[in-house]
Symmetry: C2
DNA sequence: TCCTTATTTGAATGATCATTCCATAATTGG
DNA sequence: CCAATTATGGAATGATCATTCAAATAAGGA
């Protein structure tokens, strides 16, 4: 029939993610995006619409990837507490890179409904998954039984954000490890 | 000799702070700034130089105000732990407003030396003040003696950032209070 | 070969950007 | 009143912005 698509849309999206997490939405220019995505300018607009739509798609893809990584870490340990620990350790190890989730929350808050539509379901699935693992850890006796698993989950997510802000602010690995240690300590 | 200045530079700066904390540096236009600062465009450039210099001045003033508020809260309680508690409660109560400190870290990280020059001393004085109060609380027996006060201080600052990111993301008062409770719990 | 679609690039569009020039008015002290 | 300084706002500057148009090339299947 016709010429097939050459580039992979998700690969191009990964390039956009790299630009947006470093410079935010307002700080990213179409030129930067085209350069990092490895496609022509017109292909960008044909495939992804405008810059704002591209941003939302980037945030969604980034968020799904982050959630998948969190889930895998949560499942990794034999005991649930080890999975929670592994999740925080992974955050520490990647905290030198800016987080697009935290960045988009800081840049826009909940002021854009079509962006909140991207955030909300991701946040909910992550919160539920962590809460479930906290419950497992409570059954194992590794987390205090009197803790509300939902509150503990929100606390862990807030600490993930805190670790990432600290990393973005230049904190070294040791300091970030200390933050993860303290967060786990609150669960005991 | 000549006509005295009519507007107060710090008052005008407060207007700029309001714009920058809501929209960030890149998202703030000169028009928005002029409107919020209540001065003419030319006065803005005469008094504060360019937009980037104005931003750094705004971050510095905001940071000094926040530090002062933290210090006052820290001193407020009879026992040191009550001061730490009060500090976190104040953060919870103000977390519906975006934080310019967190915002500027997320937007620029440590990539701009002249912005880092603003952040670094503020972060250090805050960290030292909180660490000192943690030591007091350890003497009172309200904080575990085996904790490193510096690490505990960094943990509290990271949790302040986490609470503010959560608030920016739409979390309600109850959820934010839960975060503060959990953070304090880690000190026991 | 022809048709269709994909892709790229140059050029143009119109908006908005930060910033400066300039003319004017206002307010002080001498 | 004069001189000096501050403030304001319109107009212009030149850059950059996101986005679109248009033309050219490329790559498949029929």
């Amino acid at each position: 029939m016709a010429r097939p698509r050459e580039f992979d849309a998700d690969t191009a999206l990964d390039g956009a993610i790299g630009v947006f997490r470093e410079h935010g939405f307002e700080g990213a220019s179409a030129e930067m995006l085209v350069g990092a995505m490895g496609i022509g300018r017109q292909s960008l607009y044909d495939t992804f619409g405008d810059k704002w739509r591209l941003y939302r798609l980037a945030v969604r893809r980034y968020g799904m990837g982050e959630c998948a990584a969190h889930f895998e870490a949560l499942r990794s340990g034999v005991r649930a507490i080890d999975g929670i620990d592994a999740m925080l350790r992974r955050v520490v190890e990647t905290a030198h890179q800016p987080c697009l989730g935290v960045g988009s929350i800081c840049e826009f808050g909940v002021s854009r409904p079509d962006l909140a539509e991207v955030h909300t379901p991701l946040a909910k699935t992550l919160r539920d998954a962590i809460a479930a693992r906290v419950r497992d850890a409570q059954r194992d006796g590794d987390v205090a039984a009197n803790l509300d698993p939902e509150a503990a989950s929100e606390f862990l997510i807030a600490n993930i954000a805190g670790i990432r802000v600290a990393g973005r602010g230049g904190a070294n690995r040791g300091a970030l490890t200390g933050l993860a240690d303290m967060a786990l300590r609150a669960l005991r």
